[in-house]
Symmetry: C2
Subunit: 214 residues, 2 copies
Amino acid sequence: MKLYSYFRSSAAYRVRIALNLKGLPYETFGVHLVKDGGQHRQATYKDANPQGLVPALEVDGAVIGQSLAILEYLEETHPKPALLPADPLLRAQVRAFALHIVCEIHPLNNLRVLQYLTGSAGLSEDAKLAWYQHWIAEGFSALEADIARRQPSGPYCFGEPLTLADVCLIPQVFNAQRFNCDMSPYPHLMRVFETCNALAAFADAHPSRQPDAE
Amino acid sequence: MKLYSYFRSSAAYRVRIALNLKGLPYETFGVHLVKDGGQHRQATYKDANPQGLVPALEVDGAVIGQSLAILEYLEETHPKPALLPADPLLRAQVRAFALHIVCEIHPLNNLRVLQYLTGSAGLSEDAKLAWYQHWIAEGFSALEADIARRQPSGPYCFGEPLTLADVCLIPQVFNAQRFNCDMSPYPHLMRVFETCNALAAFADAHPSRQPDAE
């Protein structure tokens, strides 16, 4: 399998974690989101992935875009270790947690959106940072409250074993820390963050350890 | 089942379509996103759904948030008619199409984000509209190119039968039309839109036909 990735993309980071957890070897093909006006916008990349976004996974000659579609694909085709519980209601709750990151936090804070804010929308760097931190606080508060209410009996978002919720959370916390977000209101999230980062599958997926890292 | 819904929310609209397609009866509980400072922000709603967003589905005493988690749950528990193909790679491509709407378009253009732009970020109504239309154009161009390249042999996004891609597309087109987006560059998307809207499951899910419609 070949992963079109950018070391700092938290969506690509999610997929790297899942590939590592499932023990699936892959080749990294770096797509730089800034250089050359954004290599993801170039025809050579769009030929492979018409959505023109990172990550994408090439498998059996086909290309899958969207990190969550890739994660679900990996879960269906390489079910062990499972990253979703067996019970449908619990699966839904794990997915809802992951989707709160994937749909409510990350899309507002990714590079192309921040570029639009300071570009076309004319916001200052301070206003951009306030925007970033606002959506982190909104999203992480909801997730922190969710874990606090459930009191899972284990170190991960849904207790044990770890799930797609953790796979999506850790890159978003990494990203938030890069933008100097105060993480002290989120002790449950930070406990999960520390626990996961001690695992090789997460450590090896870290942006600083990627072949395209700067 | 009880659906916490807002007539105009395109995320709730997706879930209504899927419930109708699968022939599942449900009760609508209106959560007004504007009245009372946003009823989704009130403790009574957050007790049910700590994520504090619409929609949420109450089933067997539990509450599932996030429209895509609900759609996957319905697919797993009520598999007929299927809204995802059987082949894993094709399922991934349908999900990637749906996620392009759910993750790349809708989160940028929903009510709370538009409120932030004209509120805290101080943008004008014109700048807000430009933002809205920019992300519609970015997203719909990618989706239009995807259908044009695949040339599906059937009236839906992935030919026939219809899938979660169609379930997510139609509410987003409705939403774009409300904000006066030019849809002429997207003939493939508009053909799917017209075809789906002729079906009772889609027509009955339309915002104007909901008990909480204004």
